[in-house]
C-alpha cells in the first residue's frame, strides 16, 4: 500500500517542473549569495584623526594605526567638533584626538594623554575598534620606550604576557562559520514549507476525499507524504555540502556520517512539523502565513545570526524549543570542531523527541472525516 502512495507522491513532485526548479535552484542561489553578504568581520574601521600636535610622533602614531590593516584613514579634521561631524555623517567610526604638545609632554614629562571617541551604536564593532586602537597605542608606547631607554631594558617590572590562540578557525574566516548554518536554514525552509502546503493542497483540490475513502491507514498516509520530501531534503543537503566543499573549501573536520545521521532524524522532525501545520490549516493561505511566521521565529532565534548566549534567559528558553537551533549547533560543531556522535548525544535525543512529538501529533490529528 505504502509503495503505491510513494509512487503517487513522487510522480506528483517530478511532474511539476515548477516545484523542481524552486526546490533546487533557489537554495543554490541563496547558498552562493548569502555567505558573501553575511560577513560580520570587524575590519575597515573608518578612522578620523584630529591632530593638534603635528609632530613626527603624532604622524608616526597615525601611520602605525593605519598600517595595522584594521583602520582606514577617512577624515583629517582640524578640530574635534569637525571630527565629530564626520562621525555623525557616518563617514568615520572612530576619532583619534592627539592633543597639542603630545610629543613634548611625552618626552619631557614622561606622560601624555590621547583621546579616542568611538561611534558605539554597533556595540561589538565599537568594543573591538576601541580595543584594537588601544593595543596599537600600547605597541607604539613600547616603541617609544625602547627608543629612549637603552640597555639595560627596564625589566624590573613583573609583566604578564597574554598569548591568545584561535582554535578551529585560525584565519577568522566568517564564511566557515556561516555556510553550515545557512545550509541548515535552507534545508529547513524548503522541507517545512513544502510539507506544510502539501496536505492542504489536497484539501483545496478536493483530492483528499479520494484518499479518505481508500483503505489507507493514517500512519501510511503520513509516511507517504513524509518519505518523498525527506529524500528531496537529503539531496538538497548533499548538493549544499558539495557546494560548501567545492566553492567555499569547507571540509568537515568530523565525519559526513555524523552529519547525515543527525540530518535524517532532524528532517523527520521538521517535516512532521510541516505536516502537523497542514492538518490544521484549511487553505494554502493559512498554512503559508503560519509557516512563514514560524519560519521567521525559527530563523531569527536559531543562533544563525546572533549568538544564543547573548539572548535574555527567556529567549534562550525559546531556542530550546526550536529544532533549527540544534541542527545549526550540531552542524557547526561537526564541521568546524570535528565533534563525533558521542559529543552530540544530547542534541540527538532532543531532536528524536521533536520527531516523535510532531509526527505523533500529526498522525493523531489527521482525520479522515472532512468538515
Amino acid at each position: 500500500m505504502l509503495k503505491f502512495l510513494l509512487q503517487k507522491e513522487l510522480k506528483q513532485i517530478f511532474r511539476d517542473p515548477g516545484i523542481i526548479r524552486v526546490l533546487f535552484i533557489m537554495p543554490m542561489v541563496q547558498l552562493l549569495i548569502l555567505p558573501l553578504a553575511a560577513d560580520y568581520e570587524i575590519k575597515n574601521i573608518n578612522l578620523g584623526v584630529v591632530d593638534h600636535d603635528h609632530t613626527e610622533y603624532s604622524r608616526k602614531l597615525v601611520n602605525k594605526i593605519v598600517a595595522s590593516g584594521y583602520f582606514r584613514l577617512k577624515d583629517y579634521s582640524p578640530t574635534f567638533k569637525q571630527g565629530l561631524k564626520a562621525i555623525e555623517l557616518d563617514k568615520t567610526d572612530l576619532i583619534l584626538e592627539i592633543p597639542a604638545h603630545f610629543e613634548r609632554d611625552l618626552v619631557d614629562e614622561n606622560k601624555s594623554t590621547l583621546f579616542v571617541a568611538v561611534d558605539a551604536i554597533n556595540g561589538v564593532k565599537a568594543g573591538l575598534g576601541g580595543a584594537y586602537v588601544q593595543q596599537i597605542i600600547g605597541d607604539y608606547n613600547q616603541d617609544v620606550r625602547d627608543q629612549w631607554i637603552q640597555t639595560p631594558r627596564y625589566d624590573e617590572q613583573p609583566t604578564i604576557d597574554v598569548v591568545s590562540s584561535d582554535w578551529y578557525n585560525p584565519n577568522m574566516n566568517y564564511r566557515v562559520f556561516m555556510v553550515p548554518g545557512i545550509l541548515v536554514m535552507l534545508v529547513t525552509m524548503i522541507g517545512s514549507s513544502f510539507a506544510a502546503n502539501n496536505i492542504v493542497r489536497e484539501k483545496e483540490m478536493g483530492t483528499i476525499e479520494q484518499i479518505n475513502v481508500s483503505p489507507i491507514k493514517k500512519y501510511q498516509f503520513i509516511l507517504g507524504k513524509l518519505i518523498p520530501f525527506w529524500l528531496l531534503a537529503i539531496s538538497i543537503l548533499t548538493i549544499g555540502l558539495i557546494i560548501a566543499r567545492v566553492i567555499y573549501g569547507i571540509v568537515p573536520l568530523g565525519s559526513y556520517f555524523t552529519i547525515y545521521a543527525f540530518a535524517s532524524i532532524y528532517l523527520i522532525a521538521i517535516l512532521g512539523l510541516g505536516l502537523l501545520l497542514s492538518t490544521y490549516a484549511q487553505t494554502q493561505q493559512q498554512s503559508m502565513l503560519v509557516s512563514f511566521f514560524v519560519t521567521m521565529i525559527f530563523n531569527l532565534l536559531s543562533g544563525l545570526y546572533t549568538p544564543i548566549e547573548s539572548m535574555p534567559v527567556w529567549a534562550q528558553w525559546v531556542t530550546k524549543f526550536n529544532p533549527v537551533s540544534y541542527f545549526i549547533e550540531v552542524m557547526r560543531m561537526v564541521m568546524l570542531k570535528g565533534s563525533g556522535l558521542a559529543d552530540i548525544g544530547f542534541q540527538i535525543l532532543a531532536i528524536l523527541g521533536f520527531a516523535v512529538f510532531f509526527n505523533g501529533w500529526a498522525i493523531l490529528n489527521y482525520s479522515k472525516r472532512t468538515g
Binding site: 560580520y40 556595540g123 568594543g127 617590572q157 582554535w167 562559520f177 547573548s310
Partner: protein
C-alpha cells in the same frame, strides 16, 4: 472628492469588520518588536569558559576569580589537560579556555615574566576576538594593580569615550533595524493582499466599472492602511522607549514624519506587487521572498554593508529599509536634525514616487 471619501470608507470597513485580521495587523508588529528587540543582539556576555590552572597559586587564583566575577564570563569547568580542553570545546560547552602555566607566580616574581594563554573557539570570529580582548584587559588591570607603585617612564594614556551608547548595548543598533524590518513586512503584505483579494473574489469588476479614476482607487486602498501603520509606528516607538530601553534622543516629530514616509514607500511597494500578482498566495509569496531576506541582509543592521562585495553593495541601495535604518539611527540614537538625513529622505521620496507611478501606469482597468 466625495466619491473618494466613500471609497476610503469602504476600505476602512473592510479592515474594521474583519476583526481577526485587524487583530493580527496590530499585534504582529508588537510581538515581533518585543521578540526580536530583546533576542537579536550580538552583545557578548555570560560566555562559558574553562580554566586550566597548572600552577594553582595565589596569583592564578586571584586572576581566575576576577575573570569569573566579570559579567562577560561564566566559569563552568576546571580542566586538567589540553586534551580535556579539546573535548570540552567539541561538546560545545565553552567559548574560551584560559591556561596558566606551571609556577606562574614564581616566574612572575622572580624572572619578572609569566605567560597566560587564552584559547578561543574562533569558529565564531567576532565573539572570539571580543572575549580575548575582555580577558586581556582584566589581566592587564591585575598587572597594573600589582605594579601600582612603580611609575613607568614615557607612558601614553588613552582615554576612550563611547559615543551614543556608552554601555555598548546591542539594542541600540538592532532596534532601528527591527523597526525597519517589521514596518516593511507588515505594510507591504497588507496592501498587496488587500488589492489582490478583490481580484480573487471578483469584486474588482465592480470597482473597475465605477466612475472613479484608477489613481484614486489605488490611493483609497492605501489610506486606511496608512492609519493602521501609524498606529503600529506609535506602538513600536512606545515599546522601544519603555520596554527595550532605547531612548529617542532627537525630535520625535521628525521621527514620526520619516516613519510615515517609509510607510508610504512600503505601501506603494505593496500596491506594485499586487498589480503583478493574480492570487493572494502569489502576492504573499512575493512579499515574503522578495522582502524578508533582502531587508534582513541589506539594511545594514545585521551585516555591515561595507564588508560586502561591491555588486551586493550596489544592490543594497535599492532596498528602502537601508535608508530608513540610517534615518532612524541618526534621529533616534544620535539625536541629529533634518539636515543630516535630507539625502536619505529625498531617496525615499523618490522611491515612493517611482513605485506609485509604475503601479498607476500598470494598473489594468480591464480584467484579463
Amino acid at each position: 472628492m466625495k466619491q473618494f471619501l466613500i471609497f476610503v470608507k469602504k476600505e476602512w470597513l473592510h479592515i474594521w469588520r474583519d476583526r481577526r485580521t485587524l487583530f493580527i495587523l496590530i499585534w504582529m508588529p508588537i510581538v515581533q518588536i518585543i521578540l526580536y528587540g530583546f533576542a537579536l543582539t550580538n552583545e557578548v556576555k555570560n560566555s562559558n569558559i574553562a580554566i586550566f590552572d597548572q600552577s594553582r597559586d595565589e596569583a592564578t587564583i586571584q586572576i581566575s576569580d576576577e575573570i569569573a566575577a566579570s559579567r562577560y564570563f561564566n566559569l563552568v569547568k576546571n580542566v586538567y589537560s589540553y586534551k580535556d580542553i579539546g573535548a570540552t570545546f567539541r561538546k560545545g560547552k565553552i567559548r574560551m579556555a584560559i591556561v596558566f602555566p606551571k609556577n606562574f607566580r614564581y616566574d612572575l616574581l622572580h624572572s619578572n615574566r609569566a605567560q597566560i594563554q587564552l584559547i578561543a573557539d574562533a569558529s565564531d570570529p567576532n565573539t572570539a576576538n571580543t572575549l580575548t580582548n575582555y580577558a586581556s584587559s582584566i589581566i592587564n588591570d591585575y598587572q597594573q594593580a600589582v605594579n601600582q607603585n612603580a611609575e613607568l617612564p614615557y607612558t601614553i594614556n588613552t582615554q576612550v569615550r563611547m559615543l551614543y551608547n556608552p554601555e555598548l548595548k546591542g539594542a541600540y543598533g538592532f532596534v532601528p533595524g527591527v523597526m525597519a524590518l517589521v514596518l516593511m513586512l507588515v505594510c507591504t503584505m497588507m496592501t498587496s493582499i488587500a488589492i489582490v483579494k478583490e481580484k480573487e473574489m471578483g469584486t474588482m469588476e465592480v470597482i473597475l466599472v465605477s466612475p472613479l479614476k484608477p489613481f484614486r482607487i489605488i490611493i483609497a486602498k492605501a489610506v486606511p492602511y496608512l492609519f493602521v501603520s501609524l498606529l503600529n509606528i506609535i506602538s513600536i516607538l512606545l515599546l522601544s522607549v519603555y520596554v527595550l530601553g532605547v531612548p529617542i534622543v532627537g525630535s520625535i516629530w521628525l521621527l514620526m514624519a520619516e516613519s510615515t514616509l517609509f510607510t508610504l514607500t512600503s505601501l506603494s511597494l505593496g500596491i506594485l506587487i499586487s498589480n503583478s500578482a493574480q492570487t493572494q498566495q502569489t502576492a504573499m509569496f512575493i512579499s515574503m521572498m522578495s522582502l524578508f531576506l533582502p531587508t534582513l541582509l541589506f539594511s545594514g543592521f545585521l551585516f555591515p554593508i561595507e564588508n560586502m562585495p561591491w555588486p551586493l553593495q550596489v544592490i543594497s541601495n535599492v532596498v528602502p529599509s537601508k535608508w530608513y535604518y540610517i534615518i532612524v539611527k541618526n534621529i533616534m540614537i544620535k539625536g541629529l536634525g533634518f539636515e543630516s538625513v535630507w539625502q536619505e529622505t529625498t531617496i525615499l521620496i523618490g522611491m515612493t514616487a517611482a513605485l506609485l507611478g509604475i503601479s498607476i501606469y500598470k494598473f489594468k482597468i480591464r480584467l484579463a
